[in-house]
Amino acid sequence: MKETFDFSIVTTWLHQLLSGCMPAWLATTTECVIIAVVLLAAYSLIAMAYIMYERWVCAWIQCRLGPRRVGPWGLLQVFADVIKILQKELITLWKSDKFLHNLAPYLVLVASMLTFACLPWGRGLQIIDFNIGAFFIIAVSSIGVLGILLAGWSSNSKYTLIGAMRSGAQMISYELSVGLSVLTVVCLAGTMSITGIVETQADGWFLFKGHLPAIIAFIIYVVAANAENNRGPFDLPEAEHELTAGYHTEYSGIHFGFFYLAEYLNLFIVSGIAALLFLGGWQPLHVPGWEGFNEMMNCIPSLIWFLGKAFFMTFIFMWIRWSFPRVRIDQMLALEWRYLMPIGLVNLVLMAIVVTQGWHF
């Protein structure tokens, strides 16, 4: 059967070309520079696409028109916003801790960039590929909490302090549930490497392969990822009627822009991880027995599959965000510690039983 296009043909060719005309260390450096440029481009493109996507979906759900004036269908709106935000003055408070205040955006952005580089974009198109990839993703994505806590604390304002504390409590709590869902999938896949997880889903996505435990883990993941992103019904760290803007109240101009950028990138990252863990990453949809259908699905490039799944998951996250009212902090913590967490633990044991007994498909 014809396979989807393997991007490692391109990277191998580039590698041979570069190592043919320069010494090994220089070739490696050049490749690192290429990777950095590609990362930067992809990062900003995805962020801009997501800002527009959110505004359109939000407008559609609220029966509004959304941005339409700047450029065709309002496509240039986001560029106008970037230029505007770059021109704003950067204000630092008298009493704030200047060093930590400036350090916080770096932490938030670096955390999201590291996680972003781990995503599998297509067959052979993945930048960082640790053999403990799933673990690495969880580890680096939790650095973002430090940035948010620092931002709130160093601003020396009451709104930011309360916002940061709420955000910290929320993010660390829901990180457990995300971790347990990932653990459940690792249990089913039998490997922690991202490539391995995607490749074991070649004959069926984990959502369909893993019986009930995989479906429960998927639902827990969607709820917990929404909360970890400070989005949707869980946006109480930046509840605007109580805290004006939460932890980034005292950031202005591009300083605020970094938090905004990282927020949208994190949305893409959690959607991408959901696609990777439960919806087969870049694997096409295959139905056993339907040879012609499978052949047709293989014609669609793996990059399109991955992006399509990520955008679909994002649509679900946006739908949740614009449909539910905000929860209170006690409800939010109760949901995690009394429901999601114990269910996640039981679900993990259930998955382990399914796997050791060989009941999975």
């Binding site: 408070l93 770096y106 960082i128 604390w153 653990l183 510690w337």
Partner: protein, 124 residues
């Protein structure tokens, strides 16, 4: 050895990605610093509040409830770290290891139940 794209070590690539993030922030800050306006006003450095001068210190001691949740988080996060190696090979380890991990989880769940009963999970 843990190789990724182009046959480069994954650690090198992780450092590259981190440096890219730093570069993005630094470059945007420099552009903003070059083209943005700068002015001095006494009121600009005041924290954003209701318009009246701030009372008291903002870097103050804070609600202990958050601290309790942080402790609980630490307990379960370390547990997740312990479970990752087992989860990766639980298929070949079989029922014996599952029983051992089950015992471990039961002890942890007892801890959670204790915290629940003591009211640590109730927001006050």
């Amino acid at each position: 050895m843990d190789l990724s794209i182009f046959g480069i070590q994954s650690t090198t690539l992780a450092i590259t990605a981190a440096l890219t993030g730093v570069l993005l922030v630094a470059a945007a800050l420099i552009i903003a610093w070059l083209i943005g306006p700068r002015s001095y006003t006494e009121m600009k450095g005041e924290p954003y509040e209701c318009g009246i001068p701030t009372r008291g210190e903002s870097m103050a001691q804070f609600h202990v409830g958050y601290y309790l949740f942080a402790i609980l988080f630490l307990m379960f996060d370390v547990e997740t770290v312990f479970l990752f190696p087992w989860a990766a090979i639980c298929r070949s380890l079989g029922t014996g290891a599952l029983a051992a991990v089950g015992t471990f989880l039961v002890i942890l769940a007892l801890g959670l139940a204790y915290a629940w009963k003591k009211g640590a999970l109730r927001w006050k």
